[in-house]
């Protein structure tokens, strides 16, 4: 097993365990066991736990946004349909058995006050999501894409946290309905 494979296996284990149970509830020993690597290898890939935490969040950010964008471009026939497709993707995600809310909000709540890195990555993730939603709104012909993007991002974050706490995927449907109403009002100049 070479360095890159070890890194990947460690990050896979970290994503599974950290996302499921929170960061401080998972020890380095359990990570090592789940990843199937030696402790020495773990520490030469990630010199400290906070390095692993930050790498986990960065990789998840990239994957999450890539997966969302791929779904939207595939499932929306016209630019107008794209913003609503976001909420269809959310419904799929909420229905996954291991769904447990937004990894960045969870990490921020747990460590945001203690770790600068966690706060920074969470901020970047939300800023990137806002930027993406603003692009979708602009392409859909909304008169004020920045304001619409911000409002859509509120619905997305609200749906994620509500679905996480309640465990009910239909939250995505309610958010979709609200988004449709906002888009209907905003397309004609609101």
């Amino acid at each position: 097993m070479d360095h890159d494979e070890a890194r990947t296996r460690i990050l896979d284990a970290a994503e599974k365990l950290f996302y499921d149970r929170g960061i401080q509830s998972v020890g380095m020993d359990e990570l090592r066991t789940t990843a199937g690597v030696s402790l020495k290898r773990l520490y030469q890939c990630f010199p400290a736990k906070h390095d692993l935490v930050e790498a986990y969040l960065r990789r998840r950010d990239a994957r999450w946004r890539t997966t969302l964008a791929a779904y939207v471009t595939e499932h929306a026939d016209t630019p107008d349909a794209r913003p609503l497709a976001v909420f269809d993707w959310l419904h799929d995600w909420f229905s996954a058995p291991d769904f447990r809310g937004c990894a960045f909000i969870n990490s921020f709540g747990e460590l945001g006050a203690t770790s600068d890195g966690v706060g920074r990555v969470a901020r970047e993730h939300k800023r990137a999501l806002l930027s993406y939603l603003t692009d979708l709104a602009r392409d859909a012909g909304v008169t004020e894409p920045a304001a619409m993007g911000a409002q859509l991002s509120l619905l997305v974050d609200g749906a994620i946290t509500t679905a996480a706490v309640s465990g009910d995927p239909s939250t995505a449907r309610q958010a979709r309905t609200a988004a449709a109403a906002l888009l209907a009002a905003g397309a004609s100049g609101g």
Copy 2:
């Protein structure tokens, strides 16, 4: 100092420390020091840490909802204005220097997978908020109060988490604008 005063001081310390830095980052010794009580007293008021955590969340839930309701009834002249007043209160809250997001979402992200009690209290808090917002929507004459309440609650939760991560109180304004658009669309039938 009698039993009740000790309990109050412990809960005050817990609320300050747990909300600021997360639950697992705060030890019982620091709690004891901040509360100014002895360790023996602390453990006779709350036999274990998770008891204190649950009591902290329950008291915060009651206070948070009472404060919100008081603000709304005082600042909204007509029933129609009440739903929007919620977002004015959010703006005040977001602007407070110690604002760090929703205590229940934060706790849920940190311990929801581990502790049943935390998950239960978080769920109850969000359900009570939904019920309150639905009442406001009904009193405002919305045609489908349940759907409107759910949508408003998405905006509220989205605004709280976005404001927490970004640190920008104006998130409340964007949520208010979105809520106004939804209410305008929903008041006339749907």
